[in-house]
């Protein structure tokens, strides 16, 4: 991979270069000692594109979070892995980094084994080898293959959502929850919403229309989760996974009603002008307390599965109701 490491401490830059030189895969590493230097380097026409960024969060002048935000505003670096380097134990810095578009983070002082793992994780994302990332990057692969913006993303693939508060991509979401410390997990709850009859909606939508549907839905969820501290990710198949923190106990029935009302008020339409009417339903909420022998991801998957099951159950109930009405 071609990697740009940005840190104002020359020792850290040297450590990173040394570490990356000892990895199994060969990496081409460049360094910058400030965010401004990094942006100048990127603006030079002769600079070849980078596959991955390592950004220190706390730097004088422009910090790593702002630099990450600026990278995400460019088409070229909208999706490349950005690993934040932080000495901050304060979780707010990490949350802000993810909200700005970071995909992962490592803490200083480095645990070298952990850092290697994180770099390999980013590498998998770039190469598309990882099981986790396959579904996400299938989106990019299909675009690269055909170059056709009208080609629709598969239903079970996460659509990239940009510029919605608190919405991050699924890869970053998994990195985020798996790295939260036992202390940080305390008071966090994960739950999911699924769009009902998503397959039908998907079949009836164009590529652009489906992306709008997903983005608008994520916006409605984001608006309804404010003012709590939260992160949302679209996991594909019409399902959004959310984590709320600070001990907030979500009233999922009320929240679902609020979201459905917000979607209704958006007055959405298909691209051909037909009225777009759909509803969400929620699954079960799971506390992300540390569980012996169980991965936090299990809780995320359980929340995800329960929302999809609920969507199917509700549609089945509705179908049976109409059938019995008709029979009556």
């Amino acid at each position: 991979m071609r990697i740009l490491a940005v840190d104002d401490d020359p020792i850290i830059l040297e450590l990173l270069s040394e570490l990356l030189a000892t990895m199994d895969t060969e990496h081409d590493v460049m360094t910058a000692d400030s965010a401004i230097d990094a942006l100048e380097l990127l603006a030079r026409p002769e600079t070849e594109p980078f596959d991955c960024f390592l950004l220190d969060i706390q730097m004088p002048g422009m910090d790593g979070i702002e630099l990450c935000r600026k990278l995400r505003e460019t088409t070229q670096y909208a999706r490349v892995p950005v690993l934040m380097i932080t000495a901050m134990s304060d979780k707010n810095y990490i949350d802000n980094a993810f909200t700005a578009g970071a995909t992962d983070y490592v803490t200083k002082p480095f645990d070298i084994t952990e850092l290697r793992f994180r770099i390999k994780n980013a590498e998998s994302r770039v190469s598309g080898d990882s099981a986790l990332t396959k579904k996400i990057f299938a989106v990019q692969r299909s675009e690269a293959k055909t170059g056709d913006p009208n080609e629709k993303v598969s239903l079970n693939e996460p659509v990239p959502i940009m510029d919605v508060d608190g919405v991050i991509d699924y890869f970053a979401f998994e990195n985020y929850v798996t790295q939260l410390s036992r202390g940080s997990l305390f008071g966090s709850t994960v739950f999911a919403f699924s769009i009902r009859r998503i397959q039908e909606l998907y079949n009836q939508s164009t590529a652009f229309g489906f992306e709008c549907l997903i983005t608008d839905t994520s916006e409605a969820i984001s608006d309804c989760l404010k003012p709590h501290q939260f992160l949302i990710s679209y996991a594909g198949n019409g399902t959004f996974v959310c984590v709320v923190e600070g001990g907030h106990r979500p009233d999922l029935d009320r929240l679902t009603d609020q979201i459905n009302l917000a979607i209704h008020d958006m007055d959405l339409h298909f691209c051909d002008g037909r009225k777009l009417d759909f509803r969400l339903c929620a699954g079960q909420a799971f506390r992300l307390i540390w569980r012996a022998g169980r991965n936090v991801i299990d809780a995320v998957l359980e929340a995800h599965a329960s929302a999809e099951e609920e969507a199917i159950r509700r549609e089945k109930m509705q179908d049976e109701y109409w059938l019995s009405e008709r029979a009556g």
Binding site: I12, Q58, P109, F110, I112
Partner: protein
């Protein structure tokens, strides 16, 4: 301190070279910290100097642990956190910050002394 460094050095072949550079820079950083605190008294805190001291300590804390000098890194982190807290809420007092800086400087001196 030696015990801490051995384990980290095993993992990266170039770590000794980086550690040597870190120690060289530590000499300058210690001088800088001393100068910043030189004219500061309990009743006359220099906020700009504290901010600069915090940045120096932040860098030391970030790299020392990775280089195997965990105790030094922890001491730098303690000073950094105390300065952050002081800048936000004037607590703890400068006296305590200077005590912590003194402990940090003693640890740093111990690392710097053999080669200087």
């Amino acid at each position: 301190m030696m015990m801490e460094t051995v384990q980290a050095a095993e993992m990266l072949p170039g770590l000794e070279r980086i550690r040597a550079r870190f120690i060289t820079m530590l000499v300058d950083r210690l001088d800088e910290l001393e100068q910043l605190c030189d004219n500061m008294y309990e009743d006359a805190p220099d906020l700009a100097a504290l901010e600069m001291s915090k940045n120096i300590l932040h860098k030391i804390a970030g790299s020392a642990g990775t280089l195997g000098m965990t105790t030094l890194g922890d001491a730098a982190r303690t000073c950094e956190n105390q300065i952050i807290s002081f800048l936000e809420s004037s607590q703890p007092g400068l006296e305590q910050i200077f005590d912590s800086l003194g402990e940090f400087a003693e640890l740093a001196e111990g690392l710097v002394a053999p080669s200087h």
